[in-house]
Symmetry: C2
Subunit: 494 residues, 2 copies
Amino acid sequence: MAKELKELTNRDDNYSQWYNDLVVKAGLAENSAVRGCMVIKPYGYAIWEKMQRALDQMFKDTGHENAYFPLFIPKSFFSKEAHHVEGFAKECAVVTHYRLKNDPEGKGVVVDPDAKLEEELIVRPTSETIIWNTYKNWIQSYRDLPILCNQWANVVRWEMRTRLFLRTAEFLWQEGHTAHATREEAIEEAQRMINVYADFVENWMGVPVIVGHKSPNERFAGAEDTLTIEALMQDGKALQSGTSHFLGQNFAKAFDVQFTNKEGKLDYVWATSWGVSTRLMGALIMAHSDNNGLVLPPKLAPIQVVMIPIYKGEEELAQVSEKLSAIADALKKRGISVKLDVRDNVRSGFKFAEYELKGVPVRLAMGPRDLAGGTIEIMRRDTLAKETVSQEGIVERIEKLLEEIQANIYNKALKFREGMMTRVDTYDEFKRVLDEKGGFILAHWDGTPETEERIKEETKATIRCIPLDAPDEEGVCIYSGKPSHRRVIFARSY
Amino acid sequence: MAKELKELTNRDDNYSQWYNDLVVKAGLAENSAVRGCMVIKPYGYAIWEKMQRALDQMFKDTGHENAYFPLFIPKSFFSKEAHHVEGFAKECAVVTHYRLKNDPEGKGVVVDPDAKLEEELIVRPTSETIIWNTYKNWIQSYRDLPILCNQWANVVRWEMRTRLFLRTAEFLWQEGHTAHATREEAIEEAQRMINVYADFVENWMGVPVIVGHKSPNERFAGAEDTLTIEALMQDGKALQSGTSHFLGQNFAKAFDVQFTNKEGKLDYVWATSWGVSTRLMGALIMAHSDNNGLVLPPKLAPIQVVMIPIYKGEEELAQVSEKLSAIADALKKRGISVKLDVRDNVRSGFKFAEYELKGVPVRLAMGPRDLAGGTIEIMRRDTLAKETVSQEGIVERIEKLLEEIQANIYNKALKFREGMMTRVDTYDEFKRVLDEKGGFILAHWDGTPETEERIKEETKATIRCIPLDAPDEEGVCIYSGKPSHRRVIFARSY
């Protein structure tokens, strides 16, 4: 591990390689034998589980229920919603057969040509189609509405260039799919859920986000409006971290889902969908970590406090461990997760480096001198600051410190982001800031897809969002010179 | 719903239809547009979630960690373990292409023939192969062992005849995969986990099980020993409810997973795997439910207590609801889940039938007379017994009642099962009991696969297990007359 730590690429030399090294060396995930699919390792999965628990509770607190819909979608379903098929049914895993047989030539197994499906099945890239085909049978009257379902599931999109957590062929996510009697109620739901995401990402992950509308070019395929939360990574690139879509009546019309409203008239049902995925793991890692490894916010850290005994010989180990165990028990009673590492086959320096790599928020170390003096060494991962303090009141001190670290991580990321928001008024300035500084660029745009497309082609920057709180401001488009009424946010992105 | 309840097939007329009606009408699951795949509806999923939470905690308490491995498995992996390929790689979903394109003739989308995979991918029917291919990189020394991983996932087996929860093409499950330095440790792990399953099924689901070894014919493909828990349904058929496999070194050899042991010598790693699935939902439903609908054990019921106000006019409703809300709050403080149903568009008789159908363990009803007299009507779902009691001490009474119901459901199922265990000593008697009574039949067997195979062909009964606690008893095989040293358990099964 100490060797592995040394091999961690420097963040400033090669951000992308640093990220990949970190994911692998901290034991979060690794590539699998299947192209583009990752293995999420126990330490990475433990973080994802904590995210799931917190989000799931937030969904339930806002009235949602979980359900589960099929992995496979009949091919024909994708053709039913015109925009959806363009956006989703292309790069995907297609099941064509349902049986293998022994190779007649004796070489393992081969696909049985007699077991060809009449209609191919697509491994879900997202589930609007199969879910709205199901909702058709659930909804007759306004009394059946709203339907507020969420599912935790795996989905597959056949990405050509993949990166652990950020873009993988298979990934884990949740997808909420709601059905409403009115347009207003659906729009309100889409807003409610993007706010839930913003709340989670800021207050649990410690990552500040900008909430806004996607431009039409960047909308979900089949949506009338897409809301997004955009986070900024330490290399100045944006990461779309969650989206919530107002789908209008598009899917209800595609799957003929009508209901009798309060006035006794037939109408199509209004829809939303919203999702976050294991991509959030990528955001978490990239937003906070450093050259020593991960920096995890205490609320999502699988181990919040690690304890390392410093000793020579078994007697000292026993004495120090006894004291540390007592503190560990007191911490656990407060709901703090603690690990006491008594391994004797590695040195304490090795352990220090290992837990820094793994981003454990607080490290305690205790040796014979501490034992004699009633002290303990405490190190916080976010600042790497170390101090020796009295054992007295240590539990309260750690409890407070964990809160402080959670807040500090967020504030640090916020301060960084604030410093990376640049207002520009000309296209030359725009390109210069993009290349020299990166970050979020606030600029005027004429509102046309053509201009957005050209800027993207020329600079690789896209409109990340039109912030919900963007103030009215008259100006001219940096590209076309046409009038604009507010600034939008551009960035290069993951 | 009242109409739906009437349409619930009588359990004694047609058990199979009763089961299917119940699953659909109670809102647990339904068939989807994809052959063999089900939709798990919110109420069904809420039960599954409670199962997951309880099991997951039990896995963690026994030292296991969750991880996630790819959905897809390269076809060639299945050929690496000889028995495994025979058992698993045949009826499965095969991904052959990774792209669709617009139909040149304008009819939706078609599979792009240019996007054919070099090697087909199989949607996992179980994950031993991909996981052991991964473990190869995780294990070098005995210090890397044991590995104790579990994953919650969906799997696909292309079943021809499917039934909701009991046998579906896609199902949800957990699969534990552990790696050990010694044979003994792996055997111990396999036993530990079958005991965890028995504990869960008996103490949470209220279903008594028999723990035993599978006969070689019924073993998992690739296992040296399969442990099973067998439950008895109310129609006298057995349901295999969970299995735990000692895999020997088979997968380590197939994927070349060796480690340096404490003596510094290379050896192959020892393995176990173990799993339970949404099939447990089928066991839960079939073990306890009746002609009024589901009977749920309180520990797994999404709603433990339902409250129904009896009233005429809004004033009465307000008064009754206020009182019920106060009781609801007190119950919630004790961690009891409560639903107060104030819908005014259906009658209370309709509500009564609906919550009986949904198996809510305790129903409270309160009207103006109760309000005046300080009483409340309480109904327990397991016995349908009703009484009017004082509101005083109602919270403690309900708390106790829920425990009583949990115990009673188990005891009733146990008593039923005890009455359905029949010792037989001749093949004629065996066939007579099978046809006239069903249940578990304890009989002598000569230990050969041939005899088991013939009995299965002639009677459709299989050896469910050789119970762990089967006493030594000399006898002769009911079929062949050859010597036998203990009785095994036969039954027809799901």
